[in-house]
């Protein structure tokens, strides 16, 4: 059987001649990474001869006034002295100041920082340890319940779940 090597496909005219340019355009565009929505220029201009005129202005403030330029090195001793005085002041006042400051406490923490700490750290505390750590004196039971717990409901619960209601020693003054 004879193999048919004849190519039945066509390409647009000039396809291969323009391929390189089109490829380079695309690479440039993609490497630029900006797409076409960002303009290529930003619209800033300068006054006519600005770049010619700025040179003598700068030179007049530098090389032309060489005598006025004070090298930093000649002031080195002054800086050392100033730094030494500053260090002494910091040391003297720093110690006194530090002793007068009140130490940071739990109340100084922002709630968000505490929330973030609990969210980001695994806290292996039992409910007993948590109860010990959190002061409950000022918290009423109804503060943490969605619905108010009335005395009637409490009695009903106790009657249903206690074998002998007297075990509670509600009137027993020995527990006072």
């Amino acid at each position: 059987m004879k193999k048919n090597n004849e190519n039945k496909f066509n390409t647009p005219e000039g396809y291969f001649e323009s391929f390189h340019d089109r490829l380079m355009d695309r690479i440039q565009k993609e490497e630029g990474g900006t797409g076409s929505s960002i303009p290529n220029t930003d619209g800033f201009t300068v006054p006519g001869n600005y770049f010619e005129e700025v040179v003598p202005t700068i030179l007049s403030k530098t090389t032309a006034e060489g005598g006025k330029v004070i090298p930093l090195g000649s002031r080195r001793n002054f800086y050392y002295a100033a730094a030494a005085i500053a260090a002494i002041f910091l040391l003297v006042f720093g110690i006194n100041w530090k002793t007068e400051t009140t130490p940071l406490g739990f109340d100084d923490l922002a709630s968000a920082e505490i929330d973030a700490y609990f969210e980001n750290h695994e806290i292996g505390l039992s409910s007993y340890e948590i109860a010990e750590a959190i002061p409950l004196e000022d918290i009423q039971l109804n503060d943490v319940l969605a619905e108010d717990l009335t005395n009637d409901i409490l009695w009903e619960y106790l009657e249903d779940n206690m074998e002998d209601i007297e075990d509670l020693h509600l009137e027993n003054e020995e527990h006072e």
Partner: protein, 180 residues
Amino acid sequence: MIAEETLVQELKSKESQAKAFEVLVNTYKERLYWHIRRIVLDHDDADDVLQNTFIKVYRNIDGFKGDSKLYSWMYRIATNESLTFLKQKSKKMGIGDQELKERMVENLQADVYFEGDEIQLKLQKALATLPDKQKLVFNMKYFQEMKYEDISEVLETSVGALKASYHLATKKIEAYLRAD
């Protein structure tokens, strides 16, 4: 590179300093100007900062150790001078950094040295929303066509971090320009 070393030596020598400094100013004035202008936006402010930059270069050339390229060192001074200038300006006006940026862009509409059209003005508004570092990286890469290695030396940031910053900046700007 050799030319730069020679220039540095001439700048440090009292006899050749004046001539070498003139060469330095002429070589870098435009590049540094455009770098500064894109940070401070206003021409007069850019002019002030450019002069301050060259004065600082002149006064501190003896301290230039050659650890980085002279060009990077001057860019770093120009960047710091520009950012310090803006901080002082916002302090003087009694407004925050972000408010100053917004006012700077608003002022462009009346600036005779800004000939940008609507899209170029919008680009400046988009740039004003970026953090300073991202804005710097974008301007240095996109408009000044600097290599990441050179930007890395100026901003003292790794090339990887710069590429990430540039990518983020372009995405944010594109999104801003596309939005209404």
